[in-house]
């Protein structure tokens, strides 16, 4: 399982232009950032035991700052190492066992959401100057609703044996937090882009 995942991650790496050591540094450090944000104790929501953590914030931030490819790699590396046994999933969990819990959908969604946000963020940064923050927020919201909540609901349906309505209602508990976290992610991303103008889009010399 984790082998095929790593292969996919690696292949994506190769299909783009080769990453520089700086890219590797950014990917690794953002993966660490996601891991660190997962270790901060979360609040278990409702009876399902899927905790609210800062992970969605840092996953979205990875996309907003690094773009699609590197954002996917950072979130993917986090998930992969969690599968491999490092206690970096929320609540100090780890291993493939997580795929049997109601959290499964959310965890699978992370790399995909980072990639989607990153793709949209790249478009926003290249094309717009005005209302950039608002556009970035839109990018993060679309990705988190479609991908994270979509797969999250699916995960709860499969693993907690809930029907769609129940899973949907259970998922709603996360929505207010996610809106807030996306606002924060955009504020942080804007600050990072200001401090490091070439982190996502390379400027011409």
């Amino acid at each position: 399982m984790s082998n095929t995942d790593s292969a996919t991650a690696l292949r994506t790496a190769a299909s783009r232009k080769r990453w520089s050591p700086t890219d590797l540094g950014l990917i690794a450090v953002f993966a660490a950032l996601v891991a660190a944000s997962a270790i901060v104790p979360g609040i278990p929501v409702g009876a399902l035991g899927v905790p609210i953590t800062l992970v969605t914030l840092t996953v979205m931030l990875s996309g907003l700052v690094l773009g699609a490819g590197r954002g996917f790699a950072a979130a993917g590396l986090y998930v992969l190492l969690g599968f491999a046994g490092l206690p970096i999933f929320s609540g100090g969990r780890s291993g493939l066992g997580i795929l049997a819990t109601p959290s499964a959908g959310y965890i699978i969604a992370f790399p995909l959401a980072a990639a989607a946000t990153g793709y949209l963020a790249g478009v926003v940064i290249r094309r717009t100057i005005k209302f950039r923050a608002l556009w970035l927020f839109g990018a993060a919201m679309v990705s988190s609703i479609v991908i994270i909540h979509g797969l999250g609901v699916l995960g709860m349906m499969v693993n907690a044996k809930l029907d769609f309505t129940k899973a949907f209602i259970a998922d709603l508990a996360f929505v207010p937090g996610d809106i807030l976290k996306n606002v924060l992610a955009v504020i942080i991303a804007m600050a990072i882009h200001k401090a490091f103008p070439d982190v996502l889009v390379r400027r011409v010399k």
Binding site: K194, P197, R203, V204
Partner: protein, 260 residues
Amino acid sequence: MNSISFSRVSVRVAVDGSDAPKTLLSDISLDLAERRIGVIGANGSGKSTLLRLLNGLVEPSEGSVVVHGDDTVAAVRRVRSNVGFVFTDPLSQLVMPTGREDVELSLRRSIRNSKERAARAEAVLDRFGLLPLADQSIYELSGGERQLLALAAVLAVNPTVLVLDEPSTLLDLRNRELLRRTLAGLDQQVIMSTHDLDLALDMDRVLVVESGRIVFDGGAAEGVARYRALCAAAVDSATEDSAKEDCAAMDKRWLGGVQK
């Protein structure tokens, strides 16, 4: 051939929200053949940029840098295997959790056999007196031990040139002395930027950098004296705080919050 030459090197970077690029270094021509070369100057003067040109971390916007016959842009890989680079903060440089593993990492490219690699790492650690600390977490080491370890990991692959970017800034007095003695015993050509004027006085040649230009090039004692005068003049004439900060930084470098 056996030296480093800069020919008419300028470095400019784009600035966000402005069309005019910022000039970090302008029109530098140098021939570096001495065994011990010090680079001094205020923060933001271009010292770091000058050093980073030596191993291709920064590419010249104009002109070229040639290290022992290799152009730093065209032959960057060979240049990097010849030029060892030690950064101010060893924590950003040490990748592995323990010293032994980090030194072995350095050797991964050159020694494929893991037993040979381990033996060589052992020898390198021993040479720097780091063997007793080899299996400790790098977070448990003192600043001086970390810097020594970073140096050992770089020297493990036997570079011909060693570049150090303010290596003593984060060290206490005792560790500075240790670093100073270690450097004195090396066979490599050493090129080092520093705010530590004692360390600068050990050098065979000193370059003083100011606003992207080399304003002095010559003997250590004279260079240090010149730098002191320059700083005093800057403080006297400065009305803004920024210039004063520049000089306060002679002893204490801005840590940028990056230090643990």
